[in-house]
Amino acid sequence: MTAPLRALRSGRLRALAGKEFRQIFRDRRLVLSLTVAPVVQLLLFGSVLNANVSNVSLGVVDESRTPESRELVADLTQSQAFRLGGYYVSAGRLGDALGRGAVDAGVVIPYDFARDLVRGRPATVQFLLNATNVNTAQISRAYAQGVIQAYDAGLAAQGLHAAFTQIAATPVSGRGTIQLDPAFLFNPALESSWFVTTGIFGMLMILNGTIISSTVMLREREFGTIEQLLMSPASTAEIMLAKFVPVSLLLSAMALGALGLMRLAFGVPVHGSLVVVLGGAVLCLLAGVGLGTMLATFTQSAAQAFLMVLFINPPLVSLSGALMPVEAMPKWLQPLTVLNPIYHFARIARGALIKGAGFEALWPNFLALLAFTTALVALSVWRFRRQLG
């Protein structure tokens, strides 16, 4: 490590780094990748990737046509979950509408609905859900169950008929019913953008870091100026360091900007320590720089490097838990996430920003990121120096 230290003193490094800064700022494509791209990606992903299920259009077949059935329909459509998609005369017509995509769900209230209730017999209401989108179907099912349970409880309370009270009351001799009180910690309003933006944050640093650093590393080779650099008194260590430092500094500025944007545009809280988040961010972007430098040693031009990014991009993003929960992946894919820097950074960002967790809870993720970063940077420097020499 004596060579970089000597380089720091000589002032040559400062001159070389200054040259890199000027070159980066002159390249319009790089400036766009550092400024416009992260802003657009954060805003777009954060506002668009929203799994929220609300206002599912509900088609209604009311064969009962009684005050009781109309009340059930009103309960269903007044909730945030469903909105009235139209009335249909028969279950067959409702099925056609579901197939055409005119409605996403349907409810069929049988003709003996009110009569059964008045007589104290249980009545069954049929729900049809379009399960093409599994998530929407699962959440709609929970909503439908919830509305029906509330309707059951309401029957006992209103006491329209003596029979209602009788059927809906808890059995006197039986056991007490269990009531579940759900509470949502860390994000009581269930803002879905918090999860997505913290995941995209890590993705930005790895992907943009890769593209920018590979372009910077490849430029000398593309323009054939590498020989001139090698003939100058600068050592290979100085040349490498002068390329690493400006890229890392600019990416750190991008990370700070992204953090500010998350706070301003999406209201992502900062419950923990900013030092922890920024420390994780620097490790993560260094991993991206290392990856980009490595790619640069395998390719000849910026176009080829970009193609390589396309190869590694899908597995990195899809196996990171950045956009979707890791628990939803197939079992055999889940262990692979441990090898992904985006996964570890997303844990750090979510822990420190949303949950207020400190270093004592997040150190395993830091350790993993540190290991990746060291390995990637060391490997890429070794390969790059060998190619320069």
Partner: protein, 368 residues
């Protein structure tokens, strides 16, 4: 016509000679479908949950066993002297079930007995699924212990149509297929077109007797062939390993596929003609093909969830219409009655791309 076909044959010969392009054209879409089609899912299973049982009675044990038996939850042990919300903060669990003291006594006396569920709200969608599933576990437990004599007055019989096994693969698989067909043929077309501009071989075309439309159509035809070959391979994979099949009339799908192949090849050619620099043109296609189709086409989440200020953009995203046609053909089977307008729109967007590419080409020709 002969010159157009010759141009198409030249493009395909160039493609087969370049091994990287060939991998990009055939292997990468397959890898993308197999990986993303399986990894994309929101349906969590085996969510770790910690239980704090302050009662330790047979009743509380029965409730915990009901959670253990559910497919959604996976009960993990947690030291009783530590706060359960620490388990959520340290990622050891996604939810915590807290059973209060005297729970067993209250249940036996017939008094309504509350239990608390704390869910990690960081991931809002998972939190909703977790609390919905926990409510179902508790409702089933209540129904079982209340006995057969006392069913709830109104019961919901829920039927899931088109995807009764609730397999997320059947939803995301067709979407990933559309994404792959949107990116790779367009990318290859862009590379081919931008290369002609970068290496100035386009000048040879200008001085030859090939007209602008013959040249463009030849290129588009070649990359349509790539897109159609990908479609055959990927739909084959979808049918064999993702458990989907044609539900009803496949002709709207066939018509839409040919038009969509034209649309993406024309898009790639248009970008390549406008930006004669391979790296920059590729970034533009990655933005158009990847970001727009991934985010604004309803591939992952419903279009209705996009904020209104951005939602209008999805009306011109070509992938959106093709995704609807593919999902309809493979899952719902609505046929021409439901899909005719989507097929027409795909054709119209393709025509716009072609016209734009032709105009750029003519203007360059005049300048050169």
């Amino acid at each position: 016509m002969g010159r157009t076909l010759a141009q198409a044959r030249k493009e395909l010969t160039q493609l087969v000679r370049d091994r990287l392009s060939l991998v990009l054209a055939l292997a990468l879409p397959v890898g993308l479908l197999l990986l993303l089609g399986r990894a994309f899912s929101l349906s969590v299973a085996d969510v770790p949950i910690v239980v704090q049982d302050l009662d330790a009675s047979t009743a509380s044990q029965g409730l915990i066993d009901a959670f253990r038996a559910s497919r959604t939850f996976h009960v993990v042990s947690w030291p009783p002297d530590r706060q359960p919300d620490q388990a959520l903060a340290s990622n050891a669990a996604r939810a915590a079930l807290i059973i209060p003291p005297h729970f067993g006594r209250d249940v036996a006396r017939g008094v309504p007995s509350p239990v608390q569920l704390q869910a990690d709200g960081t991931d809002a969608n998972t939190a909703k699924l977790v609390s919905g599933d926990a409510a179902e576990v508790v409702a089933a437990y209540n129904a079982r212990t209340a006995g057969a004599g006392h069913p709830a007055p109104v019961q919901a019989a829920i039927r899931l149509w088109y995807n009764p096994g609730e397999s997320p693969q059947k939803f995301y698989g067709p979407g990933i297929f559309v994404m792959a067909v949107s990116i790779f043929p367009a990318l290859l077309a862009t590379l081919a077109m931008a290369k002609e501009g970068e290496q100035q071989t386009i000048l040879q075309v200008y001085v030859s007797s090939v007209s602008a439309s013959e040249f463009l159509l030849g290129k588009i035809l070649a990359f349509m062939a790539v897109a159609l070959a990908e479609t055959v391979i990927l739909v084959g994979l979808l049918v064999t390993t993702f458990g989907v099949g044609f539900a009803g009339d496949p002709t709207p799908f066939l018509a839409a596929t040919v038009l969509y192949a034209f649309c993406v090849a024309a898009f790639g050619t248009m970008v390549g003609a406008a930006i004669p620099n391979q790296a920059a043109a590729m970034q533009a296609v990655a933005f158009g093909g990847f970001l727009l189709v991934l985010l604004l086409s309803g591939l992952l989440f419903p279009i209705a969830n996009i904020p209104a200020g951005l939602r209008w953009i999805s009306n011109v995203v070509w992938g959106r219409y093709y995704i609807e046609v593919v999902r309809d053909a493979l899952l719902q089977g609505g046929g021409w009655a439901a899909m005719w307008d989507k097929v027409l729109i795909i054709g119209a967007i393709g025509a716009v791309f072609y016209a734009a590419a032709w105009r750029t080409m003519r203007r360059m020709q005049v300048r050169a």
